[in-house]
């Protein structure tokens, strides 16, 4: 039930629209079927499946709007849902930020969804591949595998109709030595579960765990760092690149409360804020990270350059703020691509005289929104590099650094890999600021 075809979804939405008496009405369906397995101490801890679908109805009378939802689909419930949305609209205050619903739109066609999905048995086998490897080496694994299919369908009284399915599988694993003195990490996400090899990823995490035993303390300070993609973009937590890109909002910049605010008023769109090798864009048609074709209002996504040769080329404009400023609105993308070079992380290490390899950053939080200063810590594999090779593991450290400064101190950009629905390269950064040591392993 949770995944409706395009025809099934649009037929249902069209029926709901016929019940509307509002000036404008927009309806949407969201559904997902997902499953997961979680393990720790080389044994399964939890496993589950979720199956949900819901309908939302937004009714508008002039500049007044009301929203109601239901998750049952008999005719009486659907009629009642529309009626309730209309009742709320009549009671709501007029919105000074009202913009009319969109009419028919033309959408790109991102690469289609994979139909083969993980099952409880294949999830268990993938987890077993990971755990068995660790158990054989007297290492402790803790991992998580999650995946499924989702769909979204929109329709409104102005003739807009949209539908998209997507699939995703996410895997991550932390491997720790039995004595708790070493820890390593690996992560991957794919649209096709067949591309996932939990054994190879676990081996990578295991190598880091074994290699990180007997970590030495070094003095905090400014160091050249090689940040692996997992240190730049995270799916579950804040991240250095994710935080920066999430801050490219025109309205907050224009209002004077963003790092993108221009002294004296306005925003810094068009300014060169980063090293000229920094290029970041979004593209729903990218084969490796296919994106959403539309946003929640039905606005089409398209290939859009955010940073080009270090210059901020675009900011996010909501439909209201775009209309006020007489510019085109922006459909916020579902993923980003940071262009890079051809070097792998290993090759970046070879070209480094002295530096620190960072596997992963943790608990990143904004300290100052004015300068986009973030703090956080290294985790699960931090190593000192000398003369092009890893010399020894080092203790974890806290950083206080701004991604704006970081992207001005670029030494090298490696080959991007898929992570958290984005393509992210490893980065070699000079003068990255560490402020204290941590005993955490």
């Amino acid at each position: 039930m949770a995944i409706l075809s395009q025809d099934e979804a649009q037929a249902l939405l069209q029926k709901v629209l016929t019940y509307s008496t509002a000036d404008e009405c927009a309806v949407s369906l969201n559904g997902r079927t997902t499953g997961n397995i979680r393990y720790a101490r080389n044994s399964v801890s939890t496993a589950g499946a979720q199956d949900t679908i819901s309908l939302a109805v937004e009714s508008r009378f002039g500049k007044r709007a009301g929203i109601a939802t239901c998750n049952e689909f008999d005719e009486a419930t659907l009629r009642r849902c529309v009626q309730r949305a209309e009742e709320i609209a009549h009671l709501a205050p007029e919105s000074p930020e009202y913009v009319p619903l969109l009419g028919p739109q033309t959408y790109l066609s991102p690469p289609s969804a994979v139909t083969t999905l993980l099952t409880p048995a294949t999830r268990a086998q993938a987890a077993a591949d990971s755990m068995t490897l660790c158990a054989a080496k007297n290492l402790a694994s803790a991992g998580f595998l999650d995946g499924g299919v989702r769909f979204q369908a929109l329709r409104n009284s102005k003739g807009l109709a949209a539908y998209q399915q997507s699939t995703n599988t996410d895997f991550s694993v932390t491997v720790r030595t039995a004595d708790g003195r070493g820890s390593g990490y690996a992560i991957a996400d794919v649209t096709d579960p067949a591309k996932l090899n939990t054994k190879v990823l676990t081996q990578r995490a295991a190598d880091k765990a074994i290699g990180s035993v007997n970590a030495k303390a070094i003095e905090p300070g400014k160091y050249t760092v090689i940040l692996e993609p997992a240190a730049l973009m995270a799916g579950d937590d804040l991240s250095l690149l994710g935080g920066l890109l999430g801050g490219l909002d025109a309205r907050s910049a224009d209002e004077g409360r963003s790092f993108m605010t221009k002294k004296g008023g306005g925003n810094r769109k068009g300014e060169k804020l980063f090293d000229e090798r920094v290029n970041i864009y979004s593209d729903p048609l990218n084969a490796e990270v296919p994106g959403n074709a539309f946003d929640n209002e039905g606005l089409p996504t398209q290939r859009l350059s955010w940073v080009e040769k270090g210059i901020v080329k675009n900011l996010y404009y909501s439909r209201f703020w775009a209309e006020k400023n007489k510019v085109a609105p922006t459909a916020y993308p579902s993923g980003f691509v940071m262009s890079g070079g051809t070097q792998s992380t290993a090759e970046l290490i070879k070209g480094t005289a002295k530096g620190i390899l960072v596997t992963r950053l943790w608990y990143i939080r904004e300290v100052d929104p004015q300068t986009l200063l973030y703090t956080g810590l290294t985790r699960d594999g931090t190593f000192y590099i000398e003369n092009g090779a890893i010399k020894f593991p080092i203790k974890n450290m806290r950083f206080n650094e701004s991604p704006i400064i970081m992207l001005n101190n670029v030494e090298a950009i490696g080959r991007p890999v898929r992570l958290a629905g984005c393509l992210v390269p490893p980065l070699k950064i000079r003068d990255f600021t560490f402020t204290s040591l941590s005993d955490a392993i």
């Binding site: 939890t46 930020e97 158990a135 004077g256 221009k262 100052d368």
Partner: protein, 549 residues
Amino acid sequence: MNRRDFVGLTGLGATALLLPGLPGFGAQRVDPSRLLEPGADTILKKRLADAALNAAKSAGASYADVRIGRSLNQYVFTREKQVQNIVSTESYGVGIRVLVNGCWGFASTSVVTEASLAATARLAADIAKADRLVMKEPVQLAPQQGYGEVSWRTPIQQSAFEVPVKQKADLLLAANAAALDAGASYINSALFQVNEQKYFASTDGSYIDQDVHRLWPTFNATAVDTKTGKFRSREALSAPVGLGYEYLTPSANEQVYGPQGTDTVGYKLRYDILADAALAGKQAKAKLGMRSVTPGKYDLVLDPGHLGLTIHESVGHPTELDRVLGYEANFAGTSFATLEWKAKNLPYGSPQVNIVADKLQPGAVGTVGYDDEGVKTKEWDIIRAGKLVDYQKIRDQAHIVGQKASDGCCYAQSWEDVQFQRMANISLRPGPAKMSPDEMISKVDKGIYIAGAGSFSIDQQRFNFQFGGQLFFAIEKGKITEPLEDVAYQANTQEFWGACQGSCDQSDYRLFGTFFDGKGQPAQVSSVSHGSATTRFNAVNVINTARKV
């Protein structure tokens, strides 16, 4: 309102205690009037639950539990002079957990019929059977008595859902006006209202019906200096609470004035949003011209609205037994406070440190009558006179530490999600002797007073942390001298609690809290409160966070 607006408004980017997303906020919206409608009655719920339990047993389950959940939430968002959004959400469905051959299996569905629940129970059993392949340690459940048919309700005076939406929006708009009049350039405000109707049944013989209410009024006021491009914000000093709308009825008895020279007011179980917003507007503007702190060692005097977050991160999380054992190693981390560490009887803090876990605390957002595996909640000591004396546990962990019962710490964020270990309300007991914040400050030679929670970060084993705040004031020779900015302090958990010199008394005791304590994979949020009185810590390392970009 998009996700980034929401994050900015609630300060989630800065104050969520690990934000794994916004579960529960975007899914199913429903009109406000429906929030007052009664859900299914307990007779029907019992019948549905029995259908699931019987199907689970037929599928081979040695234990099963069923949670029929209905979450009714309403959020009112405003900015400056306008209502941005009124969002009413309803989520209704069932989560079923089964234990087959020593393995857990879980499945959930939004189709609430006897047939669907039976099918979902069988799916959960199939998942458990598939996972036999990867089971090394069969689950051992601590025995739990069945309570029969019982109920519990948050002791509220007035449900926030019974208050007309217009009245709530008008209150937020009045707060906005107060902040703008006092000097703010912008203000976003919100009122979060949560009602969780939870029906739990298990093969132990419990049928537990709970009606949980939570409320959180909050805002973020920002002052902008267009000429310099500088902007500064001050967030609300309210707390999320396990109370009804009565929390928004100001009461002089529930106000606690900060030290002389700080112009701060703290709130107990009643909150004056208009007064706090007016102060916030004034203080946000004042922040544009404050002196940047000189880094160094300072004695810190921390108000409860700030210290609650430090307690959460440096005591609450490291004493969760699932972290200690390694179950969170891949995401939220492990803990320095291992079983071996505890066996050595090492000090967690100074003898002045007494910390209690309490799921019964009045007004706290984590307060409920029973947890999500049918255990009656309680109060117990975590740290006594500076020594770690116990952890927080659930049913399948108690045997690992030689105990025979769960602490009632097992929760899920909704019926859709599997239950697992979550933090109890963890609080620092106030000092036994009468002492006001002014008296405490009078004995500090060189220090900083910090009010309100700001930026925060701690490592995955809970050693190294860094915290900011909302308001900072220099203390020199026993007196507040001037406000400061760019303040953050860094410490090691044991050193920090070892430097604790004691707290003010019960009259200064207040709650800090959050709706968004994040943990687990798939990540879930949980509500939790932390109480304390103003407390002093000697010789803590303070850094200056100012940068130029």
